[in-house]
């Protein structure tokens, strides 16, 4: 019989899930990220040594905080040349665990974890550094894994993280419990950062399926963590729902050649039903609060797609209304561009084309603008203009998968041109 404590996979999962809270509590205690990280590392090493023998502690997070704190305090004492202390009796530390767990009540954990996440989204840090830092510090991915996600060398990523860390070391982040306004601001910044992590995995500049999956999973884990701590925040419900509903489609988003498959052409039976169930439940919960926000609206749009068994069942009227709401909440040319997709379904490609015409200037370097424009022109039979738009889209494609998708359109246009040419030749021959 295998005791749970002897199962190394269990320990691994416990350490991974305990990391954000344990590290965040250590950071509050030491107010220094490097010391907190070292203390946490050391506590993990001890966990790997003692948990298989003694079985798992009742509260792994509290155990790690307590052991990590003692280890770091000992190290500081030894450094300050006091008499070296005897190694702690770890079995005895278990007794203090319940007491510790009580002191680390939920309120503390909440603000600790929020602070740890918030440190990673310092406004001076560019988005890519925020993501790298969050993956390194909060998620505990190693530098090699993160470097692979960003397609850079390990040393380049090491440098990037070190630079970002030194920048935040000088930034003053309050360690006192935040007030309501500050807490709300931190929550909004952290939610945006989690969405960045997700998007990096979902759509951005790399083609590795495994990494896409890892980043999206990590973002969902962080969103769930945040929601567990702030369980009555409708926007955090919305964010978590949005990530789940979008990620549910990932098994159907690419064809066997690696080209992007558009929503309406996806095999809906391949969508992850468990994620859809959870996402729909969360958006249902959020709506009860009647406090509209951008994540909830986007999740509601994703929910309408998820609820449609076939593309023709999609409630485009409702989607158009939701995009109109989103335009009000967060006006941006990209939102209008997305709305145009719904408008094309409701009122035809010409209406959608009119709608996106004013976006040509702000979205001059945006792949999706030219992809949609080409698609609409093609539907209208304006093939030559469509070809020009698709050519521009290919030049702007961020990934090989995007380019491959546009190439399929161009191939179709070329084929139609050949058929039309042959027809003209045939008709000509008849005369």
């Amino acid at each position: 019989v295998t005791e749970p404590g002897n199962d190394l996979a269990w320990i691994d999962a416990a350490l991974t899930s305990a990391r954000p809270q344990a590290l965040a509590a250590l950071l509050r205690y030491f107010r220094d990220l490097d010391i907190a990280e070292e203390a946490y590392q050391e506590a993990c090493l001890r966990a790997l040594k003692t948990w298989p023998q003694n079985g798992p502690p009742r509260d792994p997070t509290a155990w790690l905080v307590l052991v990590g704190r003692n280890v770091a305090i000992d190290a500081t004492r030894q450094k300050s040349r006091q008499a070296p202390l005897p190694e702690h009796d770890i079995a005895a530390e278990g007794d203090a665990e319940a007491d510790m767990a009580e002191r680390l009540d939920e309120q503390h954990y909440r603000d600790d974890v929020l602070r740890l996440l918030f440190i990673c989204c310092h406004p001076d840090l560019p988005a890519t550094q925020q993501i790298a830092l969050a993956l390194r510090i909060v998620s505990g991915l190693n530098v090699e894994q993160i470097a692979r996600a960003f397609l850079v060398s390990e040393s380049a990523m090491e440098q990037r993280i070190t630079r970002a860390k030194s920048r935040i070391a000088h930034a003053a982040v309050a360690f006192e419990a935040p007030g309501a306004v500050e807490r709300a601001e931190r929550l909004a910044a952290v939610a945006a950062m989690i969405y960045l992590v997700f998007n990096e995995g979902y759509s951005a500049s790399h083609d590795g399926a495994a990494m896409r999956q890892a980043l999206a999973d990590e973002a969902i884990r962080l969103a769930r963590l945040l929601l567990r701590l702030f369980s009555a925040e409708p926007e955090i419900m919305g964010l978590t729902a949005l990530l789940l509903l979008q990620h549910a489609r990932s098994p159907a988003r690419f064809d066997t050649d690696g080209a992007v498959v558009l929503l309406e052409d996806q095999d809906r039976t391949a969508w992850n039903q468990a994620m859809i169930t959870e996402g729909l439940a969360l958006i249902d919960k959020a709506m009860r609060h009647r406090r509209r926000g951008p994540y909830q609206v986007q999740a509601a749009i994703a929910a309408l797609h998820a609820r449609a068994a076939r593309p023709e069942d999609t409630d485009w009227r409702q989607i158009d209304l939701l995009y109109a709401a989103l335009e009000e909440l967060t006006p941006s040319p990209v939102v209008t561009l997305n709305r145009a997709v719904a408008v094309a379904k409701l009122r035809g490609p010409a209406a959608a084309l009119d709608m996106i015409e004013p976006l040509a200037r702000p979205l001059v370097g945006y792949f999706h603008f030219f992809g949609l424009k080409g698609g609409l022109l093609k539907q209208l039979g304006r093939n030559e203009e469509a070809r020009v738009a698709f050519d521009r889209a290919i030049a702007l494609a961020n990934t090989a998968a995007e380019a491959a998708h546009i190439r399929q359109h161009l191939d179709q246009l070329a084929k139609e041109a050949t058929v039309a040419g042959a027809k003209i030749a045939r008709d000509g021959a008849k005369i």
Binding site: R224, A232, A274, A281
Partner: protein, 123 residues
């Protein structure tokens, strides 16, 4: 006698399982439940959506209070459960209030079921 087996575990840790780990656990469980099915002993089995999707109705007040999140009190114990088909969370809350009027006090934690196998034991 029909026994209920209530599954408790650290949700964050279970959510941190990789796809392979999840599949391995499910496969091992599958061999046990297959045997129980052959013996005609397996009743309904349900896996719930994570607690972040839970809503709790405290039915000791009037009107009952709706709280986001799972049931968190330690002074009350799990005494039983219903499985009821509902069209939405609002519908589920309405049903819970109806049950609460019949049996006031305590709470109902309302959580969607992710997978449901009706089973045959006790049918």
């Amino acid at each position: 006698v029909l026994y209920a087996f209530l599954c408790y575990n650290d949700e964050a840790a279970v959510c941190a399982w990789s796809k392979d780990e999840e599949a391995a656990v499910m496969a091992k469980l599958g061999t046990v439940t297959e045997k129980l099915t052959r013996e005609g002993r397996l009743g309904p089995v349900a896996r719930l959506v994570p607690t972040t999707a839970a809503t709790t109705l405290r039915k000791d007040g009037d009107p009952p209070l709706v709280i986001d999140g799972p049931f968190a009190e330690t002074k009350e114990q799990l005494l039983g459960f219903f499985v009821i088909d509902c069209t939405s969370l609002e519908h589920a809350l309405e049903t819970a209030r109806e049950l609460g009027r019949a049996n006031p006090g305590g709470s109902y934690e309302i959580r969607p079921i992710l997978n449901f196998w009706p089973g045959s034991a006790g049918a």
